[in-house]
Symmetry: C2
Subunit: 240 residues, 2 copies
DNA sequence: TACAGTAATTGATATGGATCAACGCTGCAC
DNA sequence: GTGCAGCGTTGATCCATATCAATTACTGTA
């Protein structure tokens, strides 16, 4: 596990010009309010595959918005191995679970070259009090995270391996679509190992299922490139 | 599945006199602020085992605090069977995942006779803007819920059945202790079926593990009455 | 006290997915 | 190019837990 630390590099873009604003924290803000949010953003930085964004136990009170690329969040068990909690695409906010203690309770690592916005919580809390629609949007995002986690609990508690992999592919597909990217053809930024870990399966199982889906002409797999050939069938498989 | 609706019955107690205030939403509030929170609480009602508090899809924008007793939250899958998302004890807030849409995305049912406080979101949001420490406490509680869900994801993805049951018992034990109740001796308000569902196991497996733990003198089980005999051993089992 | 219905336990068997082991492919260093 | 390392696939086997089936214990009701 590389523990390289982030090399910060300022980027010029602001929330006002960011194409993700509608998905992200600034959604619903007026121009002037967006400027104030911009002022809160401490840094916009670029990270590379394997770089840690933040580490479990860090006292650094910030949340982070993915601006491009993708990252994973995970906890490390007593035994040492990690449990991946989520993969995060542009416009998604991470670090929300750390709001209660002044401490992060999961770690985050870049899956590829990505750019990230850092928002210090103290200042964010302050302007939230002044901009009600910002507070509302923050609550929305947090609440959405809980819903997402609940879907995942259901997946892990009830779905078999075929359903898990199908559900995973459909989730990515839908999220790419929301971001104006192809929902049928995309590149996985995470390894098979990461997928398996996230879905509570063995790597071999994930590999076998991808092969099977490919044999059945439901998807097309070439290494990390995925093409969804039969979306309806994939839906059927996902929901039993 | 009984769909009996809640029979509302007003209770006199206020947050100021509630022994759970330190665990619940009012934590950290001044006397006058607590009065304002009290005013927001729509009803304090008593529900009985099997009563629904709210239902997935309901447009009812409220969150709920458990005041006594216990409830479960769950989602219903396409296939019709339910996935339990959590069991909730006095002082815990439920319905937080529904903040983003004006709609509940899980259902909740009482496990025993319980009393519940209902807080309409619109009014809560309003006074949150006026009482910063209330907003902070709300965020804390939500963030704690996410942390809890993350622990559950880890449990479902990585732990075997022994570890799951041991972890479950320890979690209850710890939460009872926080509430000033015995951490060694308590009554399960949920059925084996509910425990199994929550832990992603079969009822038979849960039953067998409880029997085994009892045979090994780690716990004592008499129907729903649990006594933790060897707490350290239970910890060992839970964490591998 | 008897009865019905439900919850919990226990035993026997089946199976989905883990584990172990080997190999192929891809990309990078030299 | 050749060698090497990491990632991914494939096959064989095993085991933890589900499933099926039967029995027992308990709860509420008449």
């Amino acid at each position: 596990m590389t523990e390289t630390n982030v090399s910060f590099r300022a980027l010029s873009e602001s929330c006002k010009t960011c194409s993700l604003a509608e998905l992200c924290l600034p959604r619903g803000l007026q121009n002037e309010e967006m400027q104030r949010l911009d002022d809160v953003i401490k840094t916009r930085c670029v990270v590379h595959s394997g770089d840690m964004l933040f580490k479990e136990g860090n006292r650094n009170r910030s949340i982070y918005a993915v601006r491009s690329g993708s990252v994973k969040t995970f906890t490390v068990m007593e035994s040492g191995d990690e449990q991946i909690l989520g993969f995060h695409l542009p416009g998604e906010i991470i670090g929300l679970a750390g709001l209660d203690e002044a401490i992060h309770n999961c770690s985050s690592k870049a899956l590829e070259t990505s750019s990230i916005c850092e928002l210090p919580l103290d200042e964010l809390e302050t302007i939230c009090l002044q901009i009600p629609s910002l507070q509302k949007q923050l609550l929305k995002l947090i609440s959405r995270e809980i819903s997402q986690d609940h879907k995942m609990l259901l997946l892990l508690a009830k779905k078999n391996s075929d359903q898990r992999v199908a559900t995973f592919l459909l989730s990515l597909s839908g999220r790419f679509k929301l971001r104006g990217l192809s929902s049928q053809s995309f590149i996985l930024s995470m390894s098979r190992q990461d997928i398996a870990n996230y879905l509570g399966l063995a790597v071999e199982t994930v590999s076998r299922i991808l092969t099977k889906l490919s044999d059945d002409k439901v998807i097309d797999v070439t290494r990390r490139a995925i093409q969804i050939v039969n979306h309806d069938r994939l839906l059927e498989i996902a929901d039993s």
